[in-house]
Symmetry: C2
Subunit: 176 residues, 2 copies
């Protein structure tokens, strides 16, 4: 069985996932946060960029941190480096990410961002579905969900769910 | 009665409204285009940036071009310049846009973009509601809906509508 890759993201009406690379991941609605925690609990492994991991760690509970497997993408690792039982630093330019995940036996992989990580996974064709929350805000400046030269990618909307009264919505897409 | 300002936009999952400033406005689904034409027909006046106007003109029918009032925002006009009965070029840095629209008697104003125009209208507090289509595509590179330093802006979702089988959705937001 090939692993299934699911990106989970939250953005504003103007497509920004954060105001900048140090912006905490905590700006979204309580309902989005609850959904994110559910997704983290559901997956074998979490793929996340080094910078997002540094910012996100603060928002993780001890249990979430200790019981999940994190693959942290970074160009600063020569190849890969196991930091702890749960945390593996990996340079995706040196190591075949898909093969590594298959060797590790992960079946359900959650991609948590940020922009570079989402974009890399799409470029490597390691992105099967997206859960995207759209919060009814505008940031103006900020980082977008995907960025850079990417292959043309089409998706199919599987479901829409209104998350709260204000109108945060959760969109579920499948790559086609 | 103060005029009502409605932005109409279409973007990808990654928040891009166009691949670049010369990208035609025709990339969206047939259903989104039909909705846009409906909106153009419904409003007294259309506000659009000069560049978007040049690109959009090609997609307008003769009737749409001849029977609507277009206010084309440009920094190259000294103040304003009536190009034809229907088309007014206006420099928003020199002329008070709101007062001009009130003088002209327009009640329902549709903002068609691009990024700079949407952002300017939000910054000037001349944006009451948004109709935003999200197409199930990813561009990667491109222009985002809003960009730049903008006042914090919150919206309330009024409605969601699925536009087609593929999963283009139409979101209707009101500024709060």
């Amino acid at each position: 069985m090939t692993p299934k890759f699911t990106a989970v993201a939250v953005m504003t009406i103007d497509g920004k996932i954060a105001k900048n690379s140090h912006h905490n991941v905590n700006w979204s609605s309580a309902e989005d946060k609850a959904f994110l925690r559910q997704q983290i609990a559901k997956h074998d492994a979490i793929i996340v960029g080094r910078n997002t991991f540094e910012v996100a760690k603060k928002a993780l509970t001890k249990k979430e941190y200790a019981t999940r497997n994190y693959i942290v993408l970074t160009r600063s690792a020569k190849t890969f480096k196991k930091q702890s039982r749960q945390v593996l630093y990996l340079n995706p330019q040196k190591i075949d990410l898909k093969k590594t995940i298959e060797k590790l036996g992960y079946k359900k992989v959650c991609i948590l961002g940020g922009t570079q990580t989402y974009s890399l996974m799409l470029r490597k064709n390691l992105l099967d579905e997206i859960f995207l929350t759209v919060e009814p805000l505008v940031f103006g400046t900020g980082l977008t969900f995907f960025e850079g030269n990417l292959p043309a990618a089409k998706f199919k909307l599987i479901s829409i769910k209104k998350l709260n009264h204000q109108g945060a919505i959760l969109l579920h897409y499948q790559k086609i």
